[in-house]
Symmetry: C2
Subunit: 255 residues, 2 copies
Amino acid sequence: MSAYDDAGDAGQRRSPAEETRTLVSSQTVGHLATVGDAGDPWCSLVAYGAMEDGNPVLLVSTLALDGSNLQRDQRASIAIHDPLAPGDPLDRPRITLAGGAVQPEGERAEAALDAYVAAVPGAGLYAGWDEFALWVLEVEHVHCVGGFYRVDTISPDEYHAAEPDPTAPVAAKVADLLNKSYSEGLLAIARELGGARGAVSAFCTGIDRYGIDLSCTGAGQSAPARVLFDDPLADAADVRPVTVELAQRARAMGA
Amino acid sequence: MSAYDDAGDAGQRRSPAEETRTLVSSQTVGHLATVGDAGDPWCSLVAYGAMEDGNPVLLVSTLALDGSNLQRDQRASIAIHDPLAPGDPLDRPRITLAGGAVQPEGERAEAALDAYVAAVPGAGLYAGWDEFALWVLEVEHVHCVGGFYRVDTISPDEYHAAEPDPTAPVAAKVADLLNKSYSEGLLAIARELGGARGAVSAFCTGIDRYGIDLSCTGAGQSAPARVLFDDPLADAADVRPVTVELAQRARAMGA
């Protein structure tokens, strides 16, 4: 398929640590494992926020089993996935973060509470109650399951240093918009910047802070193309203008 | 509101044990807490099926962390909720089942595998692989959170003896259908059988094996009504004919 010689899966992508931080930032509900009073494992649904370094923040009642477990034994792990992701749940990316929970103090407590309240609507209701304790899970182990039989372990340092992709909250929506109302622009990007010279149509399959993924069709076949942005995007609000600018540049090249 | 003197929240409903069994039967994905090699709690996403007595069946790889944890320490708990239920996740019904996992043998192993495969599409792919171990979690403790600060504990005997509501898989769909295309029948049920004589419209808010819940409106106000079926339904296929028969009887009474 010579029309696609230069196309394909090239260019920088999110690292496993960035994928993990992006997943953690995109969710606010996970499941917590704590140690019961007989050393038995206890699983409970929790809401969480994430600190700047990716450590999860919990606010749990000391009257609840998980909350009283943490008072006694601070070891914990939290499992997070996107329950709305399509496809078989067992073939879906999911992670477990394990470590020790600490009760933050001073400025760190304020930052932790801010992170929790930002993530959990309605937390204001019980955030001030005496029996609710604020915990930060200091992540010491990161276990990533990419899908069926695909497991990565990321070092805690990599996890803490990585950034969540700031474009994730809007990426799917912008991709949808581009596909619905900007197909000529996408085709120009595919042809002029994605190396898919023979393409007759292009469909946006994903956007991240580093670039845009396209599925290009021509001569009855389709192939992927990836086009990088000039600089990684720092803000969700940049996705639309940068993509439109990319399309304009491509159309000028093809004119 | 004299028109509704006889209406309201009367009649048999699912017990907490039945609600719990119904939730367990309606889901196939939960989160498992197991004990790590240092006694640390490990949380992981798992698929499960349910035995006739409600004990969850797992099929996990001994190469995975949760699977190797179970080989060493059979204590486990599984947390289950409906991630697609509307509203705040923290105000949503959820349960934790805790106990000891055992590897079933003989006929029990066959029944367990059948239950797992029935619940988990694609399990046929790895069900026969050597490194996958079949476990039945023998439930010894049932912890139900009905919502924010609403906790029930059900005895294991109650849990095992209760039945999942067989109408649950179709109830929402039938209610939707009745509301869309059978409003006269619902109004007749509300007026003639639900005690809401002054109602001018009725909306089905829920169906279970014991009866139908309606929200009845008249004179600018609304009130709930509940109408029981003659006998608890034993099969999902009975919901539509029994509801239609109820409406026909009500319309004959009002004619």
